[in-house]
Symmetry: C2
Subunit: 114 residues, 2 copies
């Protein structure tokens, strides 16, 4: 077997995952799921150098997760897919399951449905 297609798909998916695989970046995505924010707002919230924040944002944009627009003096970033948060909540199952051992992910899901 060659798996060429599956590997291509994996590479595309990995790129997006990787973008989300940094504490500061996923934190900013969380903030942006509440409201569009400027670089300076995010910089305050994150507590790092502006240049660092700016680079993280452009990486997220590059991954297809954010868009930006100029408003007055500032650049506002927004989530392209607000649905990305549902997706992130899905990851939380893995974290819970890790926290309370023995409780399978499926049970966690069932719990939430009840």
């Amino acid at each position: 077997m060659d798996y060429a297609k599956e590997k291509d798909l994996a590479a595309s998916r990995a790129k997006v995952m990787k973008a989300l695989g940094h504490p500061t970046r996923i934190f900013m995505v969380q903030l942006l799921s509440n409201e569009d924010s400027s670089v300076s707002d995010l910089t305050k919230a994150v507590g790092a150098d502006v240049s660092t924040v700016s680079k993280h944002l452009s990486l997220l944009k590059q991954a297809g997760l954010l868009i930006d627009r100029k408003v007055g003096n500032k650049v506002l970033y927004s989530l392209i897919c607000p649905c990305i948060m549902e997706f992130i909540h899905c990851i939380d199952d893995v974290i819970y399951q890790d926290a309370e051992k023995g409780l399978s992910c499926i049970n966690v899901n069932r719990k939430k449905l009840l």
Copy 2:
């Protein structure tokens, strides 16, 4: 504002995302969503050194995504949350939306619902 809790959550989430943020690792997760596999099987599919594959697997295990069990001569790995694949499909929306510009993620989702 302090955001201490949100930042903690972000860090936990980032850890899992990061584990999935590598082409080889997410490819193996894809394979494991079909059937449990041994290190040697995965090694063939991936086409890297066994030691490399073994290390990737232990990283995924460490992230809470896989478990392993010994069966005869081999170590079989399996997905703890098969639901992780739904979550991965969610990412595909971002990829599609990137491919066909102008089609928002929400529309892609609507399409799938129809």
